[in-house]
Symmetry: C2
Subunit: 334 residues, 2 copies
DNA sequence: CCCCGAACGTATCACGTGTCAAAATCTTTT
DNA sequence: AAAAGATTTTGACACGTGATACGTTCGGGG
């Protein structure tokens, strides 16, 4: 029953076995690392046959028998996707490739349950969570056999602090550098759909509390001039100066635009700080003061976790304990 | 051989069959639309059993037997990923969900062959190409049974023109609105890795040719102030005015920043136009003149193609023939 | 009464793989 | 030379599904 029409059938492990003159089981063993038990001569025969046939194991076949697909799902918040996260994804893809894994990117949609279901449907070997999966989701995932990476970096780093809390703290310190002033937290979105906002706000608040200042206000700043102006107008006080800690650089740019419209001088009346150190933020005038996040630390953590997961070992303790993962880029807006 | 430890086994179609008191084959038939042959009573019994057990067919099992996974791969250029594309991906995800398909996002990496291999490895039912897959890649994909979507929108729309060519034309027309001036095309990247650049440049050139102007220069503008200034300095002429058509809004912002550094007045000495109508572009000062792309047209095309693919019918001819898919947003930079 | 077709349901194969237990072969020891 | 051990190889099963082709039942027409 040969199908004359249509695309050529991909070679299977059976084809490799036939060409190498061994059984399919032998091929499978050798191609999956258990090959040390075989004499070099046999191993080479199989390896050569496989590469000559350009044999690629069927993902479906593997997934069916192992109950797990060779896939890593990267879950991203559907908030602005800066080049920051882009680079991170590229790097994860590269790393995963080293372990023979494919990477799938999934944006966390409006419905968290749907996102979780979609992720679980892939039966991934691991899930890289850049935001969008709650802690509950992670335990559900763990129960289904998929490790969440970075193992806890989004919740607490080596020093036991949530990185986003630290970001909030640093933003507050920077905004209060030249003396006390009321602080405002400028979010982009509804709090429920913002994975990082609450922790950052907490960081801000920790600083104002410590210094006996009133607790920061919170506004939602849409990325258009009219909406942003309205939002900023809510918190700007006649003749007084305020410091606005923004969700990211884009929000900061919106706040600055609003300030221009409202005739506020920067940084005197309106000090602004962003997060992400976007390229655009350094190209606008005035140049943005912003927080640069050191992805390399996070990336090393991810790499280590990934290594651990694929090797079925416990996550390695990273050595980045005291390392600063965030830097203030001093612009002209604070 | 019951595994006491570990997660609960997911229900299989066999479990559904048992609960409904029928055979597994019946379940398969009814759950795959071939159920019209069965009396309503049986059908309901199976359907209820399936929903009570929260039965989800195993993707691996399906993929193995059908030779195709219920997946749509969205290939994105690894250039800046604006909210533009983000929305598009969200919409594709929603649409695919309606057909019971999952969406996988893949960024086109440095190595096109590797990207293609990764995409083919998923054996997707269709591939949505937002840039990064060459025409050759598409035919390879087609040979493997995966349709490329939008079927030809990236190459020619209903009027037979490449959209990117049209974008180039419009940019030129806008920049030459107030009289002739030398034009420059500001790319972000190396031309080989830029999926849209060449066609846009061709659009520019078509206009300058038609008007008897010198052909546009081409510069690569990195997104930092020093690099951008160097690049712009290359093409700025003492006392004369130039018009710069940019790859996207971010590049336009970089060109503007360079112009400020070089002491060029905008739009008199340096007119700039971007593409994408980014939110940030409308928040900076001066407000960017830019080209807004109407995703709804592209999206309808994708939706139609998707429908066609899942229904195994030929792509429907969309009715958007004469519709403008791009709009100039008049800012303060041209 | 017999046969037939329609209606309904199911046994069975095929997909490609990983792995266990057992078989086959080779090597060493008694 | 036979037994015991070590090394190398393989047969066979399981994974969960879609679909083809085949059975079974039942009512009715010849």
């Amino acid at each position: 029953m040969v199908t004359e029409t249509g695309q050529a059938r991909r070679p299977t492990s059976f084809d490799v076995a036939k060409k190498a003159g061994v059984s399919r089981a032998t091929v499978s063993h050798i191609l999956n690392g258990q090959g040390s038990r075989f004499p070099e001569e046999t191993r080479n025969r199989v390896l050569n046959a496989a590469s000559e046939l350009k044999y690629q194991p069927s993902p479906a076949g593997r997934a069916l028998v192992t109950g797990r697909s060779d896939v890593i799902v990267v879950v991203m918040p559907n908030t602005t996707f800066g080049s920051n996260l882009q680079d991170l994804v590229d790097e994860v893809t590269r790393l995963a490739g080293l372990h023979g894994l494919s990477v799938v990117v999934r944006f966390a949609g409006r419905d968290p349950a749907e996102t979780l279901a979609a992720v679980m449907n892939f039966r991934p070997v691991a899930v890289v969570n850049f935001g969008g999966l709650s802690r509950d989701d992670q335990t559900t995932l763990a129960a289904s056999g998929a490790a969440t990476i970075p193992s806890a970096a989004r919740d607490e780093d080596a020093s036991g602090k949530d990185p986003n809390f630290l970001i909030g703290q640093r933003m507050a310190e920077e905004l209060l550098r030249d003396g006390p002033r009321p602080l405002v937290f400028a979010a982009l979105l509804d709090e429920r759909t913002d994975p990082f906002g609450p922790a950052r706000y907490a960081g801000l608040k920790a600083v104002t509390d410590a210094r006996g200042l009133p607790q920061p206000a919170r506004i939602e700043v849409p990325l258009d001039i009219v909406g942003a102006t309205l939002a900023v107008d809510t918190v700007s006080v006649e003749g007084a100066s305020i410091g606005v800690a923004c969700y990211n650089d884009h929000v900061a740019i919106a706040v600055l635009a609003a300030g221009r419209t409202l005739g506020l001088a920067t940084p005197e009346d309106l000090a602004v700080i962003g997060v992400d150190a976007t390229e655009v933020g350094q190209l606008v005038s005035p140049r943005l003061t912003t927080i640069a996040l050191d992805n390399s630390v996070l990336m090393r953590k991810i790499a280590a976790d990934l290594e651990a997961v694929t090797k079925h070992k416990a996550p390695i303790q990273t050595q980045d304990a005291g390392r600063e993962f965030l830097t203030v880029i001093q612009g002209e807006t604070s």
